[in-house]
């Protein structure tokens, strides 16, 4: 379950020809239903899984370099699937083969994890890669389950319902943190029907994606705007983000009503929110990932309503309520 | 229309309606009367078509609740009657509850009816209603 979207190789060594041919034909059928895609290879030293015939000692099989290989004794399989001991005795059934290969996938994934290259604490472009993968997936609005894999972590998303889930055993926060730190481009792929069924059976419950997108936008920005958003563009917020669910800063709260009321430049937002350019970019990116931002064409600096060096000038006599709001905030501890 | 569609209250509504009709019929200075639940539903009414019974029932319940809240906050005990003295008439609100069933009787009078006459008539009507409903 935790490893996915891989193409793996399986070989048969020392088995009767009849068994090998049977297994080859079953592999063609089972491939639409297994967790990973399996191909048959003749060279057992290149295979991820080697099915060893009766009496073939493990050490007799040429090993694939790196030791990420599973040897399966066809006479007494001890691969455990769903807590039950599986034996691949004749007659071999297709369901047994599928279970065997999926169990092998899980083991290979578990073995691969400790050997993963250590990631830098803060990878350049990492969150952008993940954020962009998310953005692209949600743009297509597909009702299918997709997996996003990076940094040895997998996140499952359903674009149409704007939801995500991880496997039952995975910790959401941990998975998301590792994905955000990934330096690799995130790989995405659509899940097969049986994988979805297994996810459902694992008790994984879809959760709204917004908080995750919000976090990806904030944590991945590093002072830059997402591709497609220009430094000289003006930004307009379609609606308020749901701050009841999304973390926010006082500066973001300050500038949000201005962003909702009219398109604003980054300079204006810095001034209004009293926050840094990097914080403004992070907020715009997060809003963009939630599809809340409309980009408007730049206007000349001359036409700018609020210049960076000129603070907002408000005619006090027209402010009816603003004066008392500071007092109310102080009393209520806002 | 603010009414409770509960057949259990049909008998109660019939009793109330009879007394309200009688009150308006026997006092020329009484223009109309409404009996409402304390949460603003009409039980019985006899008013002319220029007055919205639904709205009056809701307002009567708000006034009654405010009266009760003011009495409570002022530490003067439970509220009983409430009177609004207007340019061309009065509105009298009296409690007409029996047990857990809370009601308000509101009576609209014009200036032909003195306050004393109006109060006597309204309280008499209230007593008659309560006697009959408690006897059920």
């Amino acid at each position: 379950m935790s490893a996915m979207l891989s193409t793996r190789r399986v070989a048969v060594s020392g088995a009767r020809l009849r068994s090998e041919l049977l297994f080859r034909s079953m592999l063609r059928v089972s491939n639409t239903r297994t967790q990973d895609t399996w191909t048959f290879c003749d060279a057992s030293n290149e295979a991820d899984v080697v099915l060893c015939g009766n009496g073939t000692p493990n050490e007799a099989v040429p090993r694939k370099s790196g030791a990420k290989q599973i040897l399966v004794d066809l006479s007494d399989l001890d691969t455990r699937v769903s807590g039950e001991k599986l034996r691949l005795n004749e007659p071999i059934r297709i369901t047994d083969v599928i279970a065997l290969l999926d169990a092998a996938s899980s083991r290979l994934a578990q073995r691969a994890r400790p050997q993963a290259e250590p990631q830098p604490a803060r990878a350049e472009n990492g969150s952008f890669a993940f954020a962009l993968a998310l953005r692209d997936l949600f743009a297509n609005g597909s009702p299918d389950v997709h997996g996003i894999e990076a940094n040895d972590q997998v996140l499952y998303v359903i674009p149409a319902s704007r939801s995500f889930f991880t496997t039952e055993s995975a910790d959401d926060e941990e998975t998301v943190s590792r994905l955000l730190l990934s330096a690799q481009a995130a790989k995405t792929a659509q899940l097969k029907r049986h994988q979805i069924r297994e996810l459902e059976q694992s008790g994984a419950l879809p959760k709204p994606i917004n908080a995750l997108l919000w976090r990806a936008g904030h944590e991945g920005s590093q002072g830059r705007l997402l591709p497609g958003l220009g430094e000289s563009d003006r930004f307009h917020l379609k609606r308020w983000p749901d701050f009841g669910k999304l973390s926010h800063t006082p500066g973001e709260l300050r500038l949000t009503p201005y962003l909702v009321r009219a398109p604003r430049t980054l300079d204006e937002l810095e001034t209004i929110g009293k926050i840094s350019r990097a914080e403004v970019c992070a907020y715009i990116n997060a809003c963009a990932l939630l599809d809340l931002i409309e980009v408007k064409a730049p206007v000349s600096q001359v036409g700018s309503v609020i210049a960076k060096t000129e603070p907002v000038v408000v005619k006090e006599k027209r402010k009816v309520f603003s004066g008392v709001l500071g007092s109310i905030r102080a009393i209520l501890g806002i | 229309m603010n009414t409770i569609a509960d057949k259990d209250y049909a008998a109660e509504a019939a009793v109330c309606q009879r007394h309200v009709d009688s009150l308006v019929a026997t006092h020329t200075g009484i223009r109309g009367a409404v009996i409402a639940t304390t949460d603003g539903f009409e039980i019985a009414a006899h008013v002319d078509s220029s007055v919205s019974v639904a709205k009056l029932a809701a307002m009567v319940s708000s006034l009654s609740a405010l009266s009760e809240a003011v009495s409570r906050e002022s530490k003067i005990g439970s509220s009983r009657d409430l009177m609004i003295d207007a340019e061309s008439g009065r509105l009298l609100l009296v409690d007409a509850s029996t047990g857990a069933r809370k009601r308000v009787l509101a009576v609209l009078c014009d200036n032909r009816e003195t306050l004393g006459q109006a109060l006597w008539a309204v309280r008499s009507c209230r007593e008659a209603i309560l006697r009959e409903l408690e006897g059920h």
Partner: protein, 182 residues
């Protein structure tokens, strides 16, 4: 001494009294009576006039917190209470049969205040009733040609009530600043 009014509105059971109690410095004054409309609302009691709480501000100024009755038959109270209000907080119970219709009703009733950017919608029970989502509420407001912040909140939490006030206040300031510049 100046007085300011904040209005909490929404259908019966949306949490108006709870929200007021979360920030009032006095125990809220209530005008609750027995609810006879049990088929429509399970609550034992209902507010028929107003809930009232207050916060003392510097220089003896007061912030008065009013909760309206929920049902539309008391809309006369909505009008009375909203006169001169600083802002209105519309509370929606997302477990109600038609929360979007509820919001439309209150936004329409308080349209003048809402269109002056002095309103916010707080949607409760979103965790147990995630549908309709916040997007749907925003879309419904937009169809009424209104722009209003919509947040998912739990009014039992004081910080959520304060969040609504904060958003409301920032909106008011932005609207007044823009108006002053125009």
């Amino acid at each position: 001494m100046k007085e300011y009014k904040l209005i909490f509105t929404g259908r019966m059971g949306a949490g108006k009294t709870t929200a007021i109690a979360a920030i009032s410095e006095i125990p809220p004054v209530q005008t609750d009576v027995t609810n006879n409309d049990r088929p429509a609302h399970a609550k034992a009691t209902t507010t028929v006039a107003l809930d009232y709480g207050e916060v003392t501000l510097p220089h003896g100024d007061k912030l008065r917190l009013y909760g309206t009755p929920g049902q539309s038959r008391f809309d006369f109270m909505w009008k009375i209470l909203s006169e001169g209000a600083l802002g209105v907080i519309v509370l929606i119970d997302n477990s109600a049969p038609d929360p979007l219709a509820d919001m439309r009703e209150y936004l329409d009733a308080f349209r003048d205040i809402v269109s002056s950017s002095r309103a916010i919608v707080g949607v409760g029970r979103c965790d147990t009733h995630p549908v309709p989502g916040i997007d749907s509420f925003c879309e419904a407001a937009k169809e009424m040609a209104l722009s209003v912040p919509v947040m998912s909140v739990d009014v039992r939490r004081r910080e959520d009530v304060l969040l609504m006030l904060e958003v409301l206040f920032h909106q008011i300031e932005a609207a007044e600043a823009d108006e002053a510049l125009s």
